[in-house]
């Protein structure tokens, strides 16, 4: 029994990653100024788990995240970083916590650290997602009509094909001036507004973050944004 315990969470699940590296990543999460707003200790009551949608479909527990962070269990933290964080639905149902913890917020911070450090599991998870990053960083919109393609949304049924066949004319048939006819963005955005957005990405280091996830995407974004900002200046 004792042997089972000592070979449990006190041991490293990722022995190839040095403990010091795991601890460095843990400290990076903890040093975020928002960390103290999200963690106040844990009663182990499980209210967060009972409210959590991801806990119903994945081997995932917001309680474990709050506990591991509060106990400063570096090995468990690394497992969470590598295996758990992308299961979270970020709905923040877990903030029902009577201690006012915010496990969803902790996940946000851990995700940021995983992205900034180019953790391989995170790069893998985000591989199919980069076209969305491209859209949001260049157009200032998360989604646009031209992203609704049957190949990407087969489970949404024949409606998607019907939409694709009518996209141009349906978009013309919207009375809202800023939407009418726009298909590559959600609404028409002023050029200067987008240049201000690009400036924000540069000034806050957000563009550098993308490099850790996808170098090709980073180069593409860099080219477009630099050219736009040069013209502006």
């Amino acid at each position: 029994m004792l042997q089972q315990y000592t070979l449990g969470k006190a041991t490293a699940s990722y022995p190839d990653v040095p403990y010091e590296e795991k601890e460095r990543l843990f400290r990076e999460v903890k040093e975020d100024p928002r960390y103290e707003d999200f963690l106040y200790g844990c009663y182990e009551c499980g209210i967060c788990v009972s409210a959590c949608p991801s806990a119903r479909f994945y081997d995932y527990s917001p309680r474990v995240i709050a506990q591991a962070m509060a106990r400063e269990d570096v090995e468990r933290f690394y497992e969470i970083l590598a295996e758990d964080i992308w299961n979270c639905a970020q709905c923040f149902s877990c903030v029902r916590c009577p201690r006012q913890n915010n496990p969803g917020g902790l996940v946000t911070l851990i995700r940021e650290v995983a992205v900034r450090n180019g953790i391989q599991e995170t790069r893998d998870v985000l591989q199919g997602y980069t076209r969305v990053i491209y859209k949001v960083m260049l157009k200032g919109n998360q989604v646009s009509p031209d992203m609704l393609q049957p190949d990407f949304f087969p489970d949404w049924g024949p409606w998607v094909s019907s939409f694709r066949g009518n996209m141009e004319v349906w978009r013309q048939a919207i009375p809202v001036d800023t939407l009418r006819g726009v298909t590559d963005a959600a609404w028409r955005t002023a050029d200067n507004t987008l240049r201000e957005l690009y400036t924000i990405w540069f000034e806050t280091g957000n563009l550098d973050i993308i490099e850790e996830v996808d170098e090709g995407l980073y180069e593409l974004l860099l080219d477009v944004m630099e050219e736009e900002l040069e013209d502006w200046e």
């Binding site: 949608p53 923040f92 998360q142 919207i174 924000i200």
Partner: protein
Amino acid sequence: MTATSFIPIDSILEKKSRPVRPTPGQAHAHDIREELFELEAKGEIIVHRVPEPYVEVETKFGRKKKIPIEHTWHHKSCGQCGHIPGYTASIFWLHRQFGLDYTDPIDQTSCTGWNYYASGTSNAVAQMAVMSRNFAAAYEEGYYPLIHCGTSFGHYKEVREQLVHHKELRDQTRRVLEKLGKPLVIPEEIVHYSEWIHVMRHRIAERQVVDMSHIKACVHPACHYHKIVVEDAIYDKEIYGGQRTATVTGLLQALGIEVADYSTWFDCCGFGFRHVLVQRDFTRSFAVMRKIEVMIDEVQPDVTVTHDTGCVTTLDKSQFAAKAHERRVGVPVLSDAQIAALAMGAHPFRVVQLHWHSTDWRPLMEKLGIDWEYYWNEFQEDLEAIRRGEAIMTWEKADGVAIQPN
């Protein structure tokens, strides 16, 4: 598992010597406006005041929140504008029918919160700068932000808390805004459009032309509306005894709709931000098994009504594939803005844009006594005229009451 590298004992002892922050009372459940005004007095920020006329409503813990009626700067939602344009059009249409002053800006970006919650490919200061740039644009234009998206609303509430409580983040954000030549502006209240609908609900009901008293609806309260910065959502002792948010339900009751309760009302819709885009097995399963099927089994609603981009998308679009698995589905999903617009007689296609919805809405229209085929044929003529290059859709065509009183 055969790993044997143990945690160094020194590390454990060092950790035990540092307790976590112990006091739940220090969590941010307070009226943030006091701190906003203090920061303004120090010259750190500009607080954008809610313009008159406004209505005061109670929030979860009783503080009065000001909801502006007009002079609003419409912070649009990328998901609504991109994939559910009748949602956006209905919000504007309602403003126009009441003759209220508003602006629909092109100097607006998304909050980028959907991406942030989906991928973590941003950071605190970038999120604060995006928010503050939008708020500065509204302030400079002289209109007050009205947030269309539930996620933008929740995200901005949380980002505002962080901006107020962390000087280093505030200073960094201000430096970024200085590069843009913009002041650091924070609104006195962060207001969601569904809060505007809530305070307008009796005026909407006064102009109702479509009888909805025989309709049964389930309400899905949007997570990012009432779960992020929980104290800043509208509650009303007359609605659910003040135990759940009053938005959406208040409107439906005012319109005479029977709001039917179901056991999983608190559950999220399954959107998941990342999941809905690239891992929809989770989204579909949750939306169907924890929401739609529960609603059908327990109350058999005619419609599900909600107040956020992701919820409408998820609950509507997830039903098609589930049908192939012989799950119990088939409940149309609309936003409160679309229901309000239909109640006041908005054109089902020029304004409400039902053709962008997947789950069959025709039985609902028929139950409401709306001859949808007539309006669809009318809309088809609009489309033909657009195809021929003879006309475009304008507010002139879409304004006014299209549906005849029944």
